[in-house]
């Protein structure tokens, strides 16, 4: 794990990291973008996950909802990732040593795996059950897993701001 810490130390010394850390406005602005993008990314994804569970937007064909919402969820994801990376860059050693940041990171990896499983499986079969009253079991599972993981990520993400526990590095 020493390698990761070395990378974090290296990043911390870069001018971008110092610039974000020392400016009065940069950090709050990036953080606001990170929080507000949550509505576009997480808000639409939440409604989509609920659709996979069969509880929201019933009567709307799933293949069409996905085709129309995915670009917006994608825009939201790009905003979250870019702002999130900049926030991490501003203080990498502290984030790396924060237990909630590590939980958030594990949650993100699992959410990514869930998204890949969705992409290579469920997504291809969406037209088969467009307006079926009860979505297939796999779709409901993917929706529930996504809701659980993103809730965990948001809660852990908010808790990163608190230093209840001793830093791990």
């Amino acid at each position: 794990m020493g390698v990761i810490l070395d990378i974090c130390r290296y990043l911390e010394a870069t001018s971008i990291s110092v610039g974000i850390r020392e400016s009065t406005w940069t950090y709050p602005v990036i953080e606001s973008v990170h929080v507000l993008s949550l509505t576009l990314f997480m808000g639409l994804l939440l409604l989509w996950d609920l659709r996979l569970l069969g509880v929201s937007m019933r009567g709307f064909a799933v293949s069409r909802i996905w085709a129309r919402l995915f670009p917006w969820i994608g825009v939201g994801a790009v905003l979250m990732i870019v702002s999130g990376l900049l926030l991490f860059w501003s203080d990498p050693v502290r984030f790396y040593g924060n237990v909630f940041f590590r939980i958030k990171f594990i949650g993100l990896v699992l959410a990514l795996l869930n998204a890949l499983a969705f992409h290579f499986g469920i997504e291809r079969r969406l037209p088969d059950w467009d307006t079926a009253l009860v979505p297939p079991r796999a779709a409901r599972f993917a929706g529930a897993a996504s809701l659980f993981l993103w809730t965990l990520i948001i809660v852990a993400g908010r808790f990163v701001a608190y230093n209840w526990f001793k830093p791990l590095v």
Partner: protein, 158 residues
């Protein structure tokens, strides 16, 4: 008068309960964020459609009806988590906080707009309102709710 009410709130059982717990404030903040996502998603789903994006093949009325329960659920979550957050620091922080004050003004305007003009527009059969007017409704909605969110985040920086 208002200052007294805020001070009273902070010393009420609710304010004290949040302050005495180590985790309550952070947990409420996390719940506030989750509710924000739901509220934001329900608002954007309809506003994107009014602008001709998103679920553009479906009628506005149908989307607005599907979004309504999630809009209400998101708002309820915001209030249920927001009131104890407010109570915990009502007198000592929020009363004199300019960002909080602006957030409340934006919130009042956003709620009023959403449940009058925007709701009446979204419930019409076809959309007899001109395209420009429709777009202005969606843009106003997004701007008012963004104002609430930006000022909300601003409270912590103020």
């Amino acid at each position: 008068m208002m200052q007294l009410a805020f001070a009273w709130l902070e010393h009420s059982w609710l304010g004290i309960a949040v302050n005495e717990s180590k985790w309550a404030f952070a947990a409420l903040e996390a719940g506030h964020l989750l509710s924000l996502a739901m509220l934001g998603g329900a608002v954007l789903l309809v506003d994107l459609r009014i602008l001709g994006w998103g679920l553009k093949e479906e009628p506005i009325r149908k989307i607005a009806r599907a979004a309504q329960p999630w809009l209400i659920a998101g708002l309820a979550g915001m209030i249920v988590t927001g009131v104890p957050l407010l109570a915990s620091l009502a007198g000592s922080k929020y009363y004199g906080n300019e960002a909080f004050r602006l957030k409340m003004y934006f919130l009042a305007a956003a709620l009023l707009f959403t449940f009058t003009i925007r709701q009446r527009f979204a419930r019409r059969e076809a959309s007899p309102v001109g395209a420009l007017q429709a777009k202005m409704i969606a843009v106003t909605s997004v701007l008012l709710w963004s104002g609430v969110g930006i000022m909300g985040r601003g409270i912590g920086f103020y």
